[in-house]
Amino acid sequence: MLSSESLALIDKEVAKYPAEQRQSAVMSALRIAQVEKGWLSNEVMDFIAHYLGMQPIAVYEVATFYNMYNTQPVGKHKLCVCTNLPCKLMGADAIAEKLKKKLGVEFGETTEDKQFTLVEGECMGACGDAPLLLVNNHRMESFLNEEKVEALLDELKGK
């Protein structure tokens, strides 16, 4: 189900917790699985449940509670734009509008070619770098302006 590289990463996380607390690694296991698979299907979550000795429902609960897990398929590049107040004061709305127009989608939608999913995010704890967005959860793009958005989309399209 998961590659040996992913399993090795999960094992490294499991080792951080007491031996009888394998469940503590579920958040990391889901993150690692999502990096490999792009999203978390029931099959992937069932596998993680079995791997960590959890009930599948307990894994689903975690995956649906935290915002950064994709429990539905998403585009190749998920762009999550913070629109919270400090980012808004620095022009996040214009950035969001630009992205919607360029991609032809609203928040929560995926482009027809499945390249991009656009979502609205909450505070990412980096308000001094506002406005900003996350690419696939792990790459932050800061101090955005319209030119930077154009350049980012061009770069990602080539990937």
Binding site: M27, V62, Y66, N84, E122, C127, A130
Partner: protein
């Protein structure tokens, strides 16, 4: 973004690669830990020193750290834990990220000293989900400390053992609440626990646990190196030390500023380059989005410490200063904040789950020209009926911005309702 160094937290900023162990050691880092381990300093002595320093929790509540440490039943046999809350997601707050980025070893040394003092053999550092690169950096810093013998079994030959692990969150504001954070480390939904019992008696895996904020732990090495009295004197009575202020919004130089508690707001604003584009200051949210907003003229008379901001009717919180100029519509600002609390309510307590959505919908309709004359009383009532009626403070955190806005900017809301448009 600007980062202004200071003596306590950002004491390695002037060095190249400030985040490296060698930089930290050259600035006196780990000397406090070495001294404690060599002299076998009694835990009571360390707690007394922290009490002298008047260090108050930097995560938002401002609770005295020495007092919190004294609650830990450290003599009891069995596992105990120290946990660091690096899950900063309160809009406006971005200081812990820079501590972990530029001086991670101050946090690590602080947690080791806490572990020694409180009888814990393991610690967990819970890192906000959206800053993955910082999590990776912390993983490297922990490895570096382990390789140098500061973490692991029998640290520096003292017989004391302590391990530290980073736990990565994945997008839930509520996990900044300490018992939700513990649930999350246990691999569950981050829903806060009913208290009591408090974490000091029933914490992580049901074991005694002390949870402090990143900046709080990172202040400990200075206190133990230089003395609690010297830390206290950096600030003012009951508000010891320096504090990081994260300044965002309409300023020329947003960033993190390490300044003495008690610094006048006007000075902090000046450091941040003043209001962007030379416009006029309108309002400030002085301690993260849940702190009630204060008009600019009130802020200009405040000093940046727990007591002064509380006296002005708000709270210092996490030290996140959101600055708004005269162009900002307060209805629109509140609409966005109310949406945030609605989105982030964990759904466990009815007043918060239902009330945050209700407040958002009312503010939303006022902003969109569909407000009703009775709406402001309705908002007063809903906010008052959430506050104090939930398991955790998210309910209060959602109510306070509404109450603060209606206290100081009621006329803007009335104008919106009456004229169906903004007065700004």
């Amino acid at each position: 973004m600007v980062i202004q160094g200071g003596p306590v937290i950002f004491n390695t900023l002037h060095l190249s690669d400030s985040w490296k162990l060698s930089s930290y050691e050259s600035a006196g880092g780990y000397s406090a830990l070495k001294k404690i381990l060599a002299e076998k300093t009694p835990a009571e002595t360390i707690i007394a020193e922290v009490k002298t320093s008047a260090l108050r929790g930097r995560g938002g509540a401002g609770f005295p750290t020495g007092l919190k440490w004294s609650f830990m039943p450290r003599q009891f046999p069995g596992d105990k834990y120290v946990v660091c809350n690096s899950d900063e997601g309160e809009p406006g707050t971005f200081k812990d990220r820079d501590i972990m980025r530029y001086n991670p070893h101050a946090l690590i040394e602080g947690m080791i000293i806490a572990g020694y003092t409180l009888g814990a053999k393991a610690g967990y550092n819970y890192i906000h989900g959206e800053i993955f690169d910082i999590y990776e950096g912390m993983e490297r810093a922990v490895e570096e400390a382990r390789a140098a013998g500061y973490l692991g079994d029998n640290i520096l030959g003292s017989g004391f053992s302590f391990n530290l692990y980073n736990h990565h969150g994945y997008g839930a504001y509520i996990c900044g609440e300490e018992t939700a954070l513990l649930e999350s480390i246990e691999g569950k939904k981050g829903q806060p626990r009913f208290k009591p019992p408090f974490p000091a008696s029933f914490g992580l895996y049901g074991k005694p646990t002390t949870i402090n904020n990143t900046e709080t732990f990172a202040s400990i090495p200075y206190i133990m190196r230089e003395g609690g009295q010297k830390f206290l004197e950096l600030g003012k009575p009951n508000n010891g030390g320096t504090k990081l202020f994260s300044v965002s919004g309409h300023v020329e130089k947003p960033g993190n500023y390490e300044v003495s508690l008690g610094t006048p707001f006007s000075e902090l604003l000046q450091m941040a380059g003043g209001i962007k584009g030379g416009r006029k200051l309108k309002a400030v949210i002085p301690g993260g989005s849940s702190a009630p907003v204060l008009p600019g003229e009130i802020m200009m008379d405040c000093t940046m410490d727990f007591d002064s901001i509380a006296k002005a009717g708000s709270m210092l919180g996490s030290g996140a200063v959101i600055v708004m100029d005269e162009s900002v519509c307060m209805v629109r600002a509140l609409e966005r904040l109310s949406y945030f609390y609605f989105e982030e309510s964990c759904g466990q307590c009815t007043p918060c789950r239902e009330g945050t959505g209700w407040m958002y919908r009312v503010v939303h309709r006022i902003e969109h020209g569909q407000g009703r004359p009775e709406d402001l009383e309705l908002l007063d009532s809903v906010a008052a009926n959430i506050a104090g009626r939930t398991i955790c403070a998210l309910g209060d955190a959602a109510a306070m911005p509404v109450q603060g806005m209606l206290k100081h900017y009621r006329h803007e809301f009335e104008h919106h309702i009456e004229h169906k448009k903004c007065m700004v």
